[in-house]
Each structure stands twice: as structure tokens, then as C-alpha cells.
């Protein structure tokens, strides 16, 4: 398998205090749409900035299309179209001026640069805003300008950091459609914590948590990890009462209970054959308690559930997460965790 990005034991520690990226082994297949998923602070942005050479790795190495990443890695940056989260651009410039500057920085000759930037501005819907300074742009307009800038040099790899953050539904739809279209000819890495986006556009996914990669593989492999026999109860009552019910459910044989948020409890049933009976037992306990049942759901968002399951498993592993060998990355095919 040809890799667009590969990192080995990539680590970033800020000021010997904050571990942003922790022994990261990432492999992004060429031609894939790779979703880098994780909660805020998981290390997604730092990983992208390490690949770009905006930050220096504390340890480990990273390669983009076989070329080593680093502070002066211009040959790597030439291959990458980067879109930062809430991009910050020189506010005194107008879009054409800014794209012209980006084109010059990418050493694109004038005869190619000018037509390309005008067509890109039209493509991202900014052709009517060319007289405005970037400082007056809305979040959506900045993102669209950032998209145009990332595509100007026609790079084979796109690193887009939360491209739909702060966008209205129409702009979000536009961005996701664009990613789908671009993916036909490029490798695209989308870092986000919005699971819906990943679900719609990605064929591969990596889940980061506290700087580590806790899952890497195809979307199919991730969804396979879903325990279909689980269901979700939405309850109403005091948190204490809900916790009490959960403890009672836990005591039942072959049934697990996990509080998702304050009023939602995920019930896991080990034996699929006992699903109806187990649900009846749980409902009996709920009925006898001080909490009210608002809803029962079983057809959940598969990606969201698999993602949350990965995070909660990672947290539950405690010291077992420490591994001097290859790290506890979930095997993408079998779905088993290396112990």
C-alpha cells in the first residue's frame, strides 16, 4: 500500500510540560479521504502542524510521500494544501492580492497564477467579494478563501483542519461536496471532531485521544466495532437516582450500563439471544426507581457510537495504555486491541 503520510513514534511535548502528540504512528494511504478524529485537545492540529514543519517534533519522524518533514521542508510543503481552523490571514489584503501572494510563495508563474486564482475565487463563491479586505470577511468567507489558497498550487495532498467549523449548513454542505469531488484526484486528510462529516466523506479514519492514535483503519472496520446489541435509555430524574439505577443494572448478569451524559444510559447486552429479556429486566428496575423513562433507542449513529466506545475503552485501559512496543492501537482489520 502506497502511503501519502507516515509517522513513526511522532511525539510533541510543549515546554517539557504538555504532551500534545504522544508516540503517534500514523499511516494515510494514498488516494484516501482520511478522517483524523478526536475530541478537542487530542493533538489533531499539532499533528498537522508537525507535518507542515510549523512545529518541531520532540521525537520520532514524519514523512509525506516519502519526504521527511521538518522546519525547512519546503519540498514537503509544496505537496500540501493546508487549511487551518478559523484561518487567520493578512487582514489588510484583498482576496486576489492574498491568493496572488500565495501563488508567488508557491513559485507559480504569473501566466498560470492569474487564471487559476480567478477561477478558484469563482469556484468558492468569492468572486463578488474581491473588493473587500479579508479583515471584513465572515468565518465562512475566510474558510472559503482558505480552501482556495490550499488548492492554488494544485497539491496532491490536502490537510484540512476542521473545514466545517463555524459554517452554516449551506456552506458545510458545499465544503463536504467539494471534499468528495477533490478526493477523486487527491489524498485528503480532514481533522475534525464532527462525526457527521467523517461519516459522509471519509473512507479511512484515525481516532486520536490525549495525543495517541487509539484506532486507525477503514471506516468499515471502525463500524464493525459497534456492538449492535446495545441500546440507549433516555431518563429523567436526579443524577443520583440515575446513578443508582445504573448500579442496579450493572448488578444484573450479562448486562452492562454506562452513563453517556447526565440523562442517557447505554445498556450493553452480552448475549444477543437474551436482548428482549434483558431489556425487560432493565425496564423493571427503571420502573421501580425514582427516574422516568423518556425514550429507548437502539438504531444509533454507528460512527458516533463506535467513536465514543473507543474513547471510553481507551480511558478504561489506564496503565495498560503504556506500551513500549507498538502502542495499543486497535487493529483495523480484526478490531482487537494489542495488549
Amino acid at each position: 500500500m502506497e502511503l501519502a503520510i507516515s509517522t513513526q513514534h511522532l511525539t510533541k511535548v510543549y515546554g517539557k510540560r504538555v504532551i500534545a502528540v504522544n508516540d503517534l504512528n500514523l499511516e494515510v494511504p494514498s488516494g484516501s479521504v482520511y478522517g483524523l478524529l478526536g475530541p478537542n485537545g487530542a493533538g489533531k492540529t499539532t499533528t498537522l502542524r508537525l507535518l507542515l514543519g510549523l512545529q518541531r517534533a520532540t521525537a520520532g519522524r514524519a514523512e509525506v510521500m516519502g519526504r521527511p518533514c521538518g522546519i525547512n521542508g519546503t519540498s514537503v510543503r509544496r505537496l500540501i494544501g493546508y487549511l487551518p481552523t478559523h484561518p487567520s490571514f493578512p487582514s489588510h489584503l484583498r482576496p486576489v492580492e492574498y491568493l496572488d501572494l500565495v501563488g508567488k510563495l508557491s513559485r507559480i508563474p504569473s501566466e498560470q497564477r492569474k487564471p487559476r486564482l480567478t477561477s478558484l475565487l469563482r469556484a468558492v463563491g468569492l468572486s463578488t467579494a474581491t473588493s473587500q479586505r479579508i479583515g471584513t470577511f465572515s468565518t465562512g468567507m475566510r474558510t472559503r478563501l482558505g480552501i482556495a489558497a490550499s488548492l492554488l498550487a494544485d497539491p496532491p495532498l490536502l490537510l484540512w483542519d476542521e473545514p466545517t467549523a463555524g459554517l452554516d449548513p449551506a456552506a458545510r454542505r458545499f465544503t463536504l461536496d467539494l471534499i468528495r469531488e477533490l478526493a477523486a484526484t487527491r489524498t485528503v486528510v480532514v481533522a475534525t471532531h464532527i462525526l457527521g462529516d467523517i461519516d459522509q466523506i471519509c473512507d479511512h479514519v484515525g481516532v486520536m485521544h490525549e495525543g495517541r492514535m487509539i484506532f486507525s483503519g477503514s471506516m468499515h472496520a471502525m463500524k464493525q466495532r459497534l456492538q449492535d446489541d446495545d441500546f440507549r435509555l433516555e431518563l429523567e430524574g436526579s443524577p443520583e437516582a440515575i446513578r443508582h439505577v445504573v448500579q442496579q443494572v450493572h448488578a444484573l448478569p450479562g448486562i452492562t450500563a454506562l452513563i453517556r451524559d447526565t440523562f442517557t444510559v447505554v445498556i450493553g447486552v452480552e448475549d444477543a439471544e437474551r436482548r428482549a429479556g434483558a431489556l425487560a429486566e432493565v425496564l423493571k428496575l427503571v420502573d421501580a426507581s425514582d427516574v422516568a423513562l423518556q425514550a429507548i433507542r437502539s438504531g444509533q449513529n454507528e460512527t458516533e457510537y463506535a467513536y465514543l466506545q473507543l474513547l471510553s475503552e481507551d480511558q478504561a485501559h489506564g496503565f495498560r495504555r503504556f506500551d513500549l512496543q507498538d502502542g495499543p492501537v486497535v487493529d483495523a482489520v480484526s478490531g482487537n486491541r494489542d495488549a
Binding site: 507542515l52 509544496r78 487567520s88 501572494l101 482558505g146
Partner: protein, 295 residues
């Protein structure tokens, strides 16, 4: 070659446009032109050409324009501009050295541009005009050398503040630190006879330099340094600072201070090396520090 230099030239142009769009540069241009006009008009019939040109240059070497130069020189890799820089420019195929050198060149060009745009016409008018003062033997070589020396000092100031901006990250803090360091250092250099590093001494030596003919480029020797010139420049500095602060005129220093006679080693070559080598060293240090930094 053109394509190889394209990013560098693009950044230089971008930075010059950014600086030119700032109110600081525009106000400085107006302020420096106004001050030059007032100084020239006020001393038109009183000062010899050498003294008048030296007094025009005094405001760049000693006070107040070094403050503006410090502010303009603060590197772009500081404060809120850093995010825009990382997102918009340094994530493209540009090396950090390329960016920093281009930003430094742009700052030097803007500072020298403002300085020369005002000082070249003012100096030419003062030297070439027939004025009601005794004829002075200011040479064109001396004028070019004097403007060159002041340009070199300004380049050094830009480089120092460029370093401070990279090192301290907060622009205002960097300017304050530089201001509190620059004046005492200047005094110390003067006291320890390291004239090449002291703008005060340079100001005192300028009238002599302005009278230096071609191929006699020693700034001054003890026999040529005119004590009257030194006294006049000193008086001018005192009255200028008094006028700005609104205080009483500063008490004159004893004449012996200006007649130390230790300018015999004060050579133009040493001035160039004295400011040129530190400028290159400071620039090198800035490049090194920035290459170690996370964005």
C-alpha cells in the same frame, strides 16, 4: 533565477505594503519632514552647513526617531501577526530564513526610505543654497559618508529591534526594553571611548565627517575635530531635549568633555565595522532563534 527569488520578492513587497499602510510610517514621514523643515528654517541664517546637516541627522541618531525605528523594526513573528503568518505564509513552500530575511529587508528599506526621502533633499538644499552664513567646506563625499553612517546605524537599530521582537514575542514589551537598554548603552560606550558604538559620539563627529574630502576618509583626528562644532552640537541636543520635555535648558557640560581629543582613531572603516558586524551578528542570531521556534 526569477522564479527562485519569487517568494523572497513577494514577501518583501508584501511587508513593505503592510508597513506603508500603517499610520506609524505615515506619521513618521510627516513628523520627520516637519522637524527637518523647522530645524532648517530656524537655523538658516545662523549655522554653518556642516552644523546644520549634523543637527538634522541628530534626531535620527539620538532622539526621538530611534524610538520609531525600534517600533518599525519589531519583527513580524511577534504578537497577533504570528498566527496570520503561520497560517497564511509559512505553511507554504517558503523557508523561515527566506521569510525572515525578506521581512528584515522590507523594514530596512522602509526605514531608510523615509530617512533618505527627507534627508537627501534637506541636505542638498542646506549645502547648495546661498545662505547668510560664512562659507563652509562641506564636501559631497562627506555628505554621502554622513548619510551612509546614519543609514548604517538605522539598519543596526532595525536589526536589534527585529531580534527583540523575535525573542520577546510581545511588541510593546520589546520596544520598552530596547528603549531602556539603548540609551544607557550609548552613554556607556561614549564614556569608555567606544565611539564607534555611540550615537552621541557619532553626532559629535558628523560635522568633521561632512567636511572630509574624498580619499581622506578618517572621520576626524584630534587636530581636525573642531571644539566649536562639538559644543554647538551638544548645545543643540540639550536645547532640543529641553524643548521636547518642556523643562529648563540642560546645564552645559564642561568644555573638557568635548575637547577630549580622542577622536584621532575614529575612522569611517571602524564605524562601518562597528555597526556592520553587530548588525550581521544580530541578524544571524534572529534567524537562529526563529528556526528553533514553534508556530
Amino acid at each position: 533565477m526569477g522564479q527562485w527569488l519569487m517568494p523572497f520578492l513577494a514577501i518583501v513587497t508584501h511587508e513593505i505594503r503592510f508597513l506603508w499602510a500603517s499610520w506609524l510610517v505615515r506619521l513618521w514621514l510627516i513628523g520627520t519632514a516637519l522637524l527637518a523643515f523647522l530645524t532648517t528654517a530656524g537655523n538658516w541664517g545662523q549655522m554653518s552647513s556642516a552644523l546644520l546637516v549634523a543637527s538634522l541627522l541628530f534626531s535620527y541618531l539620538v532622539f526621538p526617531w530611534f524610538l520609531v525605528v525600534f517600533m518599525l523594526g519589531i519583527s513580524p513573528v511577534t504578537g497577533t501577526r504570528l498566527d496570520a503568518l503561520a497560517d497564511g505564509i509559512l505553511s507554504r513552500p517558503v523557508t523561515r530564513h527566506e521569510y525572515l530575511l525578506a521581512a528584515w529587508v522590507a523594514r530596512v528599506l522602509v526605514v531608510l526610505g523615509v530617512f533618505l526621502v527627507v534627508m537627501i533633499p534637506a541636505t542638498v538644499i542646506v549645502v547648495a543654497a546661498k545662505r547668510p552664513v560664512p562659507a563652509d567646506d562641506v564636501t559631497w563625499y562627506g555628505v554621502i559618508a554622513a548619510l551612509g553612517v546614519v543609514s548604517l546605524v538605522l539598519t543596526f537599530l532595525v536589526s536589534v529591534s527585529f531580534l527583540a521582537g523575535t525573542l520577546l514575542r510581545k511588541p510593546l514589551f520589546a520596544v520598552v526594553i530596547l528603549t531602556f537598554v539603548w540609551f544607557p548603552i550609548s552613554m556607556v560606550m561614549h564614556t569608555f571611548s567606544l565611539e564607534e558604538f555611540s550615537p552621541i559620539s557619532l553626532s559629535q563627529a558628523l560635522p568633521t565627517l561632512l567636511r572630509t574630502p574624498w580619499k581622506e576618509d578618517a572621520l576626524a583626528d584630534a587636530s581636525r575635530t573642531n571644539a566649536q562644532d562639538l559644543q554647538a552640537i551638544s548645545d543643540l541636543g540639550n536645547s532640543f531635549i529641553s524643548a521636547l520635555t518642556g523643562g529648563a535648558p540642560v546645564k552645559q557640560r564642561p568644555a573638557g568633555f568635548f575637547e577630549r581629543g580622542d577622536y584621532k582613531d575614529f575612522a569611517l572603516t571602524r564605524v562601518i565595522l562597528g555597526y556592520g558586524i553587530p548588525t550581521l551578528a544580530v541578524l544571524g542570531l534572529t534567524l537562529f532563534l526563529f528556526s528553533r521556534r514553534d508556530l
